[in-house]
Amino acid sequence: MEREGGAGERRAARTVAVTTARRAARPGALWGLVFGATIAASAISYDSAFPTSAARAGLTRLEGNTAFEALFGPIRRMDTVAGYTAYKSGMFVFVLAAIWGLLVATRQLRGEEDAGRWELFVSGHTSRGRAALDATIGLGAGALALWIPTFLLPAAAGASPKVGIGIGASLFFASAIASGALMFMAIGILASQLASTRHDANLLGAAILAVSYLLRMVADSDARLAWTRWLSPIGWFEELRPLTGSRPLAFVPIGVLVIACVAISVRSATRRDLGAGALRTRDRFRPRTFLLSGQAGLTLRLTRPVIAAWIAALVATGLVFGLVVQAAGNALATSPGIQEVIARLGVTNAGAAAYLGFVFVYAAALVAIAVASQVSAIRNEEAAGRLDNLLVRPVARWRWLAVRLAVGAGFVLLASMLVGGAAWVGAVSQHSSLGLGRLLEAGVNVAPPAIFVLGVGAFVFGLWPRAAIGVTYAVIVWSFLVEILAALVNSNHWLLDTSPFLHVTPAPATAPDWTAGAWLAGLGLIAAVGGVLGFVRRDLAGP
């Protein structure tokens, strides 16, 4: 009997671990491909972007530039492929890996518990603590799946004599990036034990990520405060110094954090009630019927937390852009290499406006990702069956979708103007001469690609609902990859045309091209109308 019980437990453990691993490994490998390609593209482009030693020397002038270092971390050895690649893609990819790690962990633990499926696991031949540990092992397989392409692609690129990054350095870099996924997976696992819903677990993890980023910004903006870097998981990544003098010592706090989070989580999973969080929550609530008088109000009420979080993130981004604008503009003016890179994006002048024109492309991508989250919300409302509650009452389908899309479009406009406004506030504090009107215009200028993404998302939702979320994010990832490619080399005109981001001019470096913007937004609108027509005619579709 005992032996049979042991075998049953082993089987149960395997089931939890394998199920979780399967769900984490596929997206992990996919993101690893994107990360590996981004890093490899940075490395390959260096030689053509900065062919002369004069151009490379120009880049080294960025080293010690507080504005750039505060934004994306320390700048070292910019006269080498490795140093440039580490700065250009390191922090960006690391933070994306961390966000992915957090989301996948809360989905597989708290999300499964929210949905009631976790109960099926832990009612079998396993304990709650054991199941949490097994799910952690499964998530580890996801991190490994992310690590492999993140290592292989740059290592392959590094073999080229023009790049010359060794296998060891690529290995270390990929490990540093994957440590971001691993740390925030561990934080997500812990947050899943503490919070009683996935939404709250995500908020908790996001708050830790934001504080980590702020701490490292503080550390990088003032040498006297450099010690604060050791308080931040993102600071530990900086201390690893991948590609610029690897220091494995910083893996120690990373390892300690991961082990501590997992150990506390397993203990907490054993002690707390299933379905509840370890943190106390209230049971009863006074009704707040604010906004609950109709479908439009409900949409606002449901999307409010997500929209508020995105707007806070976008305003912070705009503010940072503005704060560093003077210093960055000066650096740009003296760096022919970077000027050449941004010239490929259509920016021909130098200075503060050129810098903003360049970085607002990132703002455009962020706003597009934010609006894609609205497409996910629309589809999830249908897939989870909650939409049925509205559509069996006197609510017309076209109206429901139109209201949701209008809220999405309104959010895009508000967010893009706030990015511009926040950039202006930051710039003014640094005595920049850029006017509010010009920066608001530059903000609105990033809206059309996002409206286009929203329209495409609505179109696919109307005709092919189960693909809506995937296609919407794929459009953004594709556009962003094309964007990176465009900055690197003079690519094929037809290829570049497929990215909506490249159809907007880099305001405020140049005047916004409102005609192109109107075309893009108009195409988005037509696609959205098509989506609404399709939705009215099709069956509601479950998951």
């Binding site: 049971d283 009704p287 017309a396």
Partner: protein, 303 residues
């Protein structure tokens, strides 16, 4: 009499699966009709077609004369739907959910709503995510009933409710009937259907195989006959209308469809000491339609 629900050749195909095949149904206003069928028979598909949530492959349906596919919003003004599977917004409380759904429906009998909350012993101050399955079911049931809509479409509305709450639900259906509301009750619980419904429709593999009052159905169906004879039970294998014969010594058990006369004639020489015939319960009727051996006998179209 005004027609509440009318379907003509209503059909729905999902890929290769024919979920509903040419359904012809007419439900007059004020009737309480039970809609029976095993899992996958097409009950929920019928309801989703009536609500316009899915498109008919063929045929049409109307509710109070309004086409379900052409004008779903018009249909919904007079309909309240209670789904079997409850998916609500986890971040709203019960009270907030009732407020929202009432506003969207457009009409709420507030006094009745409060009475329902009381009757079902429902605590509306909690968030939906913390409700048990039964409490979620109560919430969606109250949300549906509180509108006092002319037509109640109920899809297994008591799944997850305890027997006390089931009783409370039957009272609600009774009140709806007294109020002149039409009730379309899809259910697995035969006792519930037997207790509250005027007519019963039975669905099998997407086809309507029987519709009528329970009395009609009993009349058409096989009677269970138990008899004891002195001596040997005669061979009944060729007696018309007699089936499922079981003989144990001098005791006989069989089923009879149609007239009892041939059986009585066959037993005439056997000196019957004791004979009892029983009308089938709804459960037996139901099993007769789905049971492997007896199904074709009781089914009028032989399906």
């Amino acid at each position: 009499m005004e027609t509440a629900i009318l379907t003509q050749g209503l059909s729905k195909t999902f890929g290769d699966t024919r979920a509903l095949i040419s359904l012809d149904l007419e439900v007059p206003r004020g009737e309480v009709i039970g809609y029976l069928g095993p899992n996958g028979a097409g009950k929920t598909t019928t309801l989703r077609l009536l609500l316009g949530l899915i498109r008919a492959t063929e045929g049409r349906a109307e509710i109070f004369g309004i086409d379900c596919q052409e004008d779903p919003v018009g249909v919904h003004r007079g309909v309240a739907y209670v789904p079997g599977e409850v998916n609500l917004w986890p971040s709203l409380t019960g009270e907030e959910t009732l407020h929202l759904l009432g506003r969207i429906q457009g009409s709420v009998d507030r006094t009745y709503r409060d009475a329902l909350i009381e009757r079902f012993g429902f605590d509306p101050s909690k968030k939906v995510r913390s409700y048990s399955k039964g409490n979620r079911q109560k919430l969606i049931l109250i949300a549906g009933l509180m509108s006092r809509a002319d037509l109640l479409l109920l899809d297994e509305p008591t799944s997850g409710l305890d027997p006390l709450m089931e009783r409370a639900f039957r009272d609600c259906v009774q009140e709806a009937r007294e109020h002149g509301q039409t009730v379309f009750l899809s259910s697995h619980i035969l006792a519930e259907v037997e207790a509250v419904c005027d007519r019963i429709a039975i669905l099998r593999a997407g086809r309507l195989v029987e519709i009528g009052t329970l009395a009609d159905m009993r009349h058409l169906s096989a009677l269970q006959v138990d008899a004891t004879v002195d001596g040997v039970v005669p061979d009944l294998s060729h007696v018309p209308g007699v089936g499922a014969v079981e003989v144990e010594g001098n005791r006989l058990r069989c089923r009879v469809v149609g007239s009892m006369e041939p059986l009585v004639a066959a037993l005439a020489g056997a000196n019957v000491r004791h004979l009892v015939s029983t009308e089938p319960s709804l459960e037996e009727l139901f099993l007769a339609y789905y049971g492997e051996d007896a199904a074709p006998e009781g089914s009028p179209d032989g399906a």
